[in-house]
Symmetry: D2
Subunit: 308 residues, 4 copies
Amino acid sequence: MSSKLTEDAKGVFVIAVTPFTPSGDIDFESCDRMVDFYLEVGATGLTVLGMMGEAPKLTIEESRTVVERILARVDGRVPVVVGVSAPGFAQIKALTDMVMELGAAGVMIAPPSSLKTDDAIVNYYVQVAELIGDVPFVLQDFPLVTNVQMSPNVIARIVNNVPTCVCLKHEDWPGLEKISYLRAEGNLDRRISILCGNGGLFLTEEMGRDADGAMTGFAYPEMMTRVVEEFNKGNADYARDLFDAYLPLARYEQQPGLGLAIRKYVMAKRGIIASDALRKPGPKLSAAAKQEIDLLIERQEKALAKLS
Amino acid sequence: MSSKLTEDAKGVFVIAVTPFTPSGDIDFESCDRMVDFYLEVGATGLTVLGMMGEAPKLTIEESRTVVERILARVDGRVPVVVGVSAPGFAQIKALTDMVMELGAAGVMIAPPSSLKTDDAIVNYYVQVAELIGDVPFVLQDFPLVTNVQMSPNVIARIVNNVPTCVCLKHEDWPGLEKISYLRAEGNLDRRISILCGNGGLFLTEEMGRDADGAMTGFAYPEMMTRVVEEFNKGNADYARDLFDAYLPLARYEQQPGLGLAIRKYVMAKRGIIASDALRKPGPKLSAAAKQEIDLLIERQEKALAKLS
Amino acid sequence: MSSKLTEDAKGVFVIAVTPFTPSGDIDFESCDRMVDFYLEVGATGLTVLGMMGEAPKLTIEESRTVVERILARVDGRVPVVVGVSAPGFAQIKALTDMVMELGAAGVMIAPPSSLKTDDAIVNYYVQVAELIGDVPFVLQDFPLVTNVQMSPNVIARIVNNVPTCVCLKHEDWPGLEKISYLRAEGNLDRRISILCGNGGLFLTEEMGRDADGAMTGFAYPEMMTRVVEEFNKGNADYARDLFDAYLPLARYEQQPGLGLAIRKYVMAKRGIIASDALRKPGPKLSAAAKQEIDLLIERQEKALAKLS
Amino acid sequence: MSSKLTEDAKGVFVIAVTPFTPSGDIDFESCDRMVDFYLEVGATGLTVLGMMGEAPKLTIEESRTVVERILARVDGRVPVVVGVSAPGFAQIKALTDMVMELGAAGVMIAPPSSLKTDDAIVNYYVQVAELIGDVPFVLQDFPLVTNVQMSPNVIARIVNNVPTCVCLKHEDWPGLEKISYLRAEGNLDRRISILCGNGGLFLTEEMGRDADGAMTGFAYPEMMTRVVEEFNKGNADYARDLFDAYLPLARYEQQPGLGLAIRKYVMAKRGIIASDALRKPGPKLSAAAKQEIDLLIERQEKALAKLS
């Protein structure tokens, strides 16, 4: 069983997709293959049932089986974080208890869109932390989707008031100054883990601002693990070369509403999952989009070949 | 077992609250008393697990027990509609199957806030109707909360394309012209049931525009059942007198975010439910607010006394 | 020339409409008649170029002529506040300079919808106050329209940092607790004027919480001036009787997007303005709506007759 | 004097910034230098007073002088489009008349955020087109900022009903399928110009879907003019190489709220404008951000050197 998530979390926690068969059933074999793949390319953790895991489309029983299967396959090699955001505390509590018992390392909680002021946001997290007790959690800051805007100082208030908030999933856009604020002397009463999102689209600058890595998805997670690794080795310039080679596709994947379909298409093409199916309601890629992706992959391979 | 919901639904389908004990447990005895009360004052149907039923704060198991308890107490005397809105089709399907098997008369479905265009809204309901098969459903049109704006013509497209859409929970604000449009010759290919919301705050005008009644909550549901009844008897003017007597409190109850706390406070004061507790996260009434409500009730009683 | 707006503002500052001819020109004669009417029924101030004054539909030259005409007619009898909200500081500054030179008593400023955090809101008002120098201003708190949610403590921060913020146009919904917070010992470093909005729909409770009056519109502003007056005389119960008599129409007028058309229809019917025309883009009342209003007025007159 | 904008608009209409001095005055000399620069690098048109031109921060008199100055400098060499979006028709009409008289080729109109349904959007454009008579206009589709979501079929309805709508500023995200829809046989009754936005971040795919070019800003507009040119010559692969070399900076510039500050910083660094000042309210770049930009420019120069 993996140990609990702490402020020392670093590297890349890949946001796992949930593989489905074309008819919409959960594809557990692909689930296993995906876990193996993520760990092979250097993931230091996994995050499941996030927005990109199509969590809201699963029934509660399905959520349980997915978490169980992934935890079994991971088998304690890396910590697994589970998204438990829900409109009510009873649901959050029930889901948290379930996944922690199954062996999760911590949970991730996004703010409900009804939170409109600084105090409302801070109070929410104080209450939710009280509710889940000593379970460490990741604070998800993703205003583009949640419509909740957390100022840097609100994040500081949460961290300073809630010891179980050990990690920030940093996904504001723009968000670089937020990292600098949280890393500046005196704003936080302890150093927490900052793992960045947005498909890795600002990963080089984020590492330059002293983030600890990424917690996001991209069809080529090896881009993220290698960029973080090279940064940590002091090879920032080579890290940027790597990043630039993957950037055209990463940019293409970062299309709201379409991104997961693109990611699954590439993952299926790479043989990581058997089908690129999304559950309904969900978008479908056009033939033109698939051609664009195929071309981006082809060009990416050439760019990478030049690098090595 | 009650029969299925049809286009003939009329009268008042009261949106039931979910009674809790002060410690947050479901209070099943209050549940029974509440059902008895609603039926005594003339409810022609009940709607459970709506937004005002704190549905999102219940776990799936709790939702089941609440629906079971209410259906058992109703015992087929009136149709019971259950809210099944959820982000994903798997959840909607699972919840619908569960409640229909338990004996519900139909389900209610609000649009997810991600729907931003006419076509997206229509497609959503076409897909969701296909998903739930022959289960009749109530289309919930409540833009203040869902952020989804349905033009009259979008509602017409849904009704005309989806035979299982038998009722509109009309809760747009303003929304009177929408009723007139849907009742005008030629816009719908059949007459559906239109039951109005917003705490009954426009009920007299809505009845005047040929609505079939209300599907909403108010701490004095007898206002709504009597207004509808008097309108149907041709006593519109007396219906308006009744309405006006309750209006100061109805207006006070119609405060977003606070309304349910006000309603539960009054219901507890009236002895219908044992406690006015809401589940977290939820607001609390101040002492000043309670005094305001007490005064409104006192004045309401005087106004009603003058009427009879 | 009227003197400057101060923290002592009380009574009813009526939000003036801008009268147009059916062809869309400004109707200056109606403007004069309207001013006379407002003052006759007891307005203690006027607010022009607010959202309900169709300010955004006027060119800058038209705004000037409207302000000039109204100031000339008021002729210093009551203070006149002018709405100067705009996306950029240059526009706010230019408009403020213009209207203060013409003799306005102060300006009103709503927050731009881009302000998403407490700090952003406070900073905006600190900067805007610096910009307009010693001009006293009204802070407009109207989240339903601006999408900016100011917590009570944000308003306190603004008031405590910006001495020229002398008045709050209180228009949150719900907003009663906000008044209580601002009136509680220790939250503000001085007592400011609180004038309430929302068409007066909560005026009795607002007065009960120690508001100073109203700054809003309603086709029967005498309701508001009399309610405030009776409250100030200690006749709260009679004030509530008056309020209740007008409530059915006040409620009807409070329909977002339609309210101004309803108000102008009634004002034209009462002979205060010559035409109920709104400038494009704007809604039109249906025949059914006009009938509903006519009936509400008829019943209102009967209810008032019973009172006296 | 330049002729009117038509459906044949193609190439790159650069969205011009408005240069200010550090004290906030309009810097007319930089204005001239900027115009010269844009035309030298191949702009086929200019768009002024757009969102990126800080239009809402200018007074009406300032808007006039900026348009006059730019038109004088352009001197008919390319068409100039002017943004005239405003909340009311009177303002749109006044601004349109003014700029067309000064010699603009057409105007650009974004939808007000109050438009919530397909019909409301179409009606708005039908009315606005009637208002401005025979002036050709650009339909701006930028939901991230306007909050108005136009389905492809709404754009088709506008184009098919309004002959003066000659160009779409395509800025939805994602938006590629929208181009394909508008280019597919049978959806539009004539071919209009489609010029794309979003800082050029999807320009290669947009050209591949048969867009006519771009109407957006980027500190290196020569990237866009060259990409469009190479695509038109049939050198799509080389166009992509060019695009990829600029992509790291283009991505960095595409940060909502910060983008214009980044663009002005680079333009000042390149000597195109004298100062990178934005008018208040507006953001400032941190030292860290400037270093990141400097590094991106350095790497961009190396990548371009490898290409030639």
